[in-house]
């Protein structure tokens, strides 16, 4: 273990490293950009063989969807990425509350999604955030309550929902009526 590794890296440095950990299902958006890294906290060394005098770094993440199979891969990728920078003792813990929302996705991440061919969430998930309010089923069924989803290829808003679920839990499938391309849509959630 090099001497340098015994100094704790700065918070900004750690977040920059985490920003290189990509979502396994959407490999252009990092776990930081997606908003699922909620906090990082140092805990003092307990004399364990792995902490190298730095202590343990706790990375607090929140799941996107409760059944998302990527969650475990993400925890592993976070540990591997930090360990490659000499932070050996990493503990990834899950925090459910407040529930993740697509509103926490950064602008950079939204643009990266668009470039990748996935339409980012159109409009805020606000109002859904705590999930405690019961939906008014009549308004839910009312046509036109959904915001237009611009096509990530040509920008047209003449798009149409093909399937409410898509290739992963977080996406729906759309088609553009202008350029006729199908595309994934990251649902506001």
């Amino acid at each position: 273990m090099s001497l340098a590794a015994t100094t704790r890296p700065s918070r900004d440095q750690l977040l920059a490293w985490l920003d290189s950990v990509m979502d396994p299902e959407v490999p252009v958006v990092s776990v930081v950009g997606l908003g699922i890294v909620r906090d990082i906290v140092w805990h003092d060394a307990q004399g364990g063989q792995n902490d190298a005098g730095m202590g343990t770094l706790q990375v607090i993440v929140t799941p996107t969807y409760s059944g998302c199979p990527a969650t475990e891969v993400i925890a592993l990728s976070i540990r591997v990425a930090l360990q490659s920078h000499g932070v050996d003792a990493v503990e990834v813990t899950t925090q459910l509350s407040p529930a993740w929302t697509t509103d926490w996705m950064t602008e950079t991440a939204r643009e990266a999604l668009r470039q990748y061919g996935i339409a980012p969430p159109a409009g805020p998930a606000a109002g859904l955030a705590d999930g405690s309010q019961v939906i008014d089923i009549a308004s839910l069924l009312h046509a036109g309550h959904q915001p237009a989803v611009p096509c990530p290829q040509c920008g047209s808003t003449r798009t149409r929902l093909l399937s409410q679920f898509g290739s992963t839990a977080c996406k729906a499938l759309y088609r553009c009526n202008s350029c006729l391309e199908p595309f994934d849509y990251f649902k506001p959630h």
Partner: protein, 250 residues
């Protein structure tokens, strides 16, 4: 009285687990790719919810049982799910109707649980409610599309509704477990969900041109471990690997 809380958490976890297993059986058999994707994604959400509820149930019980032990190593009589969720998939309309009746109740339940005096219950419910909102949006839309579809699809959906209706009432009854949990502020009292559920169902059935059943009287017992004959068969599949190869891992 941790026992009552454990029982209540099992009910929540088992509903999600059993319905998830039912929906998972459609994988590769959906009538259209979009439907296949939808059912399996809903199944995945419910499985995630089941894991959270059962993990917490195991902690509350305090006998060292984790989510896997509870899911794979209990027999039918120890399951606490509603009778509705164990009903067979039937034809596609049956599956859609079962889902809608459940989703409409589930969202009202989770909204109440989101205000639970137990912060862990509240956070799991708030997380789940966001997912269930989307499930409901979809299942309500499908009931309308199929009900207000052709004369054949309407007839079949009316049949699904009549057949499932007797199983969609036991969740409004309070027993000792419910009463205790409601008194502690852990969960909404079961009967309080009846009126909002019925209102949601009426709105959708009217749009779907389906008649509300006037059948009175219903089946009960799932929450107390008295199940229909279908649960055992479902568990035989769900638990096969752990029963045949105890402790198997990969």
């Amino acid at each position: 009285m941790q026992e009552a809380k454990f029982e209540y958490l099992l009910r929540l976890g088992d509903n999600a687990l059993v319905l998830s297993q039912r929906l998972g059986a459609w994988c590769g058999h959906g009538p259209a790719l979009e439907e296949d994707l939808a059912l399996t994604n809903v199944a995945l959400d419910l499985l995630g919810q089941a894991r959270m509820w059962l993990s917490y149930a195991g902690e509350v019980e305090g006998r060292g049982r984790d989510e896997d032990a509870l899911a794979y190593l209990r027999d039918g009589g120890e399951f606490r799910n509603l009778l509705l969720v164990e009903q067979p998939n039937g034809h596609y309309g049956d599956t859609v109707m079962r889902q809608f009746l459940f989703d409409a109740w589930h969202q009202h339940l989770l909204a109440g649980l989101g205000q639970s005096s137990d912060p862990r219950i509240a956070e799991i419910a708030q997380k789940s409610a966001k997912e269930v909102r989307y499930h409901l949006q979809r299942s309500a839309g499908m009931v309308i599309a199929l009900g207000d579809g052709t004369s054949l699809s309407q007839k079949r959906m009316q049949g699904s509704l009549e057949q499932l209706w007797p199983y969609a009432q036991e969740w409004f009854e309070s027993d000792d477990v419910d009463t205790w949990c409601a008194d502690q502020g852990l969960a909404p009292a079961a009967p309080t969900l009846a009126a909002p559920w019925r209102a949601s169902v009426e709105v959708v059935m009217a749009r779907a041109t389906l008649a509300m059943p006037d059948y009175v009287g219903h089946q009960r017992g799932g929450r107390q471990g008295v199940h229909t004959e279908h649960l055992g068969h479902l568990l035989a599949e769900l638990q096969f690997v752990q029963r045949a190869y105890p402790g198997a891992r990969w």
